[in-house]
Symmetry: C2
Subunit: 148 residues, 2 copies
C-alpha cells in the first residue's frame, strides 16, 4: 500500500486544488491531505478567509481524499512522522526544493520520494483570481459607502 501525502491551505476551493489532489491520489493507493492551520497560514501568508474547520471539512469531502488532518504548527516534519507517507506530492507552487526536502527527510531517517506535480491552466492563482474578481465588482460600491 502506497501512502501519498499532499498539503495546502485550500482557502476557497477551486479546480486547481481538485486537479492537484487527483494527481496526488494517482501516485499511490491512499491520499492523506494536511490542511494548514489558521495560525500557520497567518505566519506564512496572510489571514485565511475561511476558518481551518471549514477548510478541513471541505477537503475531507473531496473524492480523491482518503483522509484529511490539520497540520502541526512549526515545521512540517512532525506531521510527516505522524502520517508516514511513501510519497510527498508537492503542488506546482509549493516552495520546497524536492531534492533538498528528500535529503532533509533522509537526515531525519525517513526515506520518502518527493514528487513535484504539474500546473494546470486554472491553477494560476485560482484563489487570488476569485478574490480579485470579488473586489473588482464591489470596489465602486464599497468606496461610495465609505464616503457616505
Amino acid at each position: 500500500m502506497t501512502r501519498v501525502m499532499a498539503s495546502g491551505v485550500f482557502d476557497i476551493l477551486h479546480t486547481g486544488h481538485v486537479h492537484y489532489l487527483s494527481e496526488a491520489k494517482r501516485l499511490g493507493d491512499e491520499l492523506v491531505v494536511v490542511v494548514a492551520t489558521d495560525n500557520t497560514v497567518r505566519k506564512n501568508k496572510h489571514e485565511p478567509i475561511t476558518p481551518e474547520k471549514m477548510r478541513l471539512e471541505l477537503v475531507q469531502n473531496l473524492k480523491p481524499v482518503d483522509r484529511a488532518i490539520l497540520g502541526h504548527e512549526g515545521d512540517m516534519f512532525g506531521v510527516v512522522t505522524e502520517i508516514k507517507p511513501d510519497i510527498i506530492a508537492l503542488g506546482y507552487d509549493q516552495l520546497f526544493d524536492e531534492k533538498a526536502l528528500e535529503n532533509e527527510l533522509v537526515r531525519r531517517g525517513m526515506h520518502i520520494t518527493v514528487v513535484r506535480l504539474g500546473r494546470y491552466e486554472d491553477d494560476l492563482n485560482g484563489t487570488r483570481k476569485i478574490i480579485r474578481k470579488i473586489i473588482e465588482w464591489h470596489t465602486a460600491t464599497a468606496c461610495k459607502e465609505e464616503k457616505d
Copy 2:
C-alpha cells in the same frame, strides 16, 4: 434504487453546500446534482463569481455526489424530466413551496416527493459571508488605490 435530485449555484463552496448534499444523498441511493448555468444565475441573482465549468467540476468531485450536470435554461421541469428523480431535495433557502411544486409535477405527470432539508449553522449566507469578509479586508486598500 431511489434517485435524489439536488440543485444550486455552488459559487464558492462552503460547508453548508456539503451538508445540504450529504443530507440529500441520505434520502436515497443515488444523488444527481443540477448546477445552475451562468445564464440562469445572471437571470435570477447576480453575476456568478466562478464560471459554470468550475462550479460543475467542483460539485462532481464531492463525495456525496454521484453525478452532476449543468441545468437547462428556462424552467426546471426540463431537467427534472431528464433526470427522473424519485425525490427532489430542496435546500433550506430555495424558494419553491414544497406542496405547490409537488402539485405542479403531478400536473405534468411526474410523481416526485419534494423534501425540504434543514439549515445548518454555517449555512447562514455562507457564500455571502465569505464575500463580505474579502471585501471588508480589502475595502480600505482598494479605495485608497482608486484615489491614487
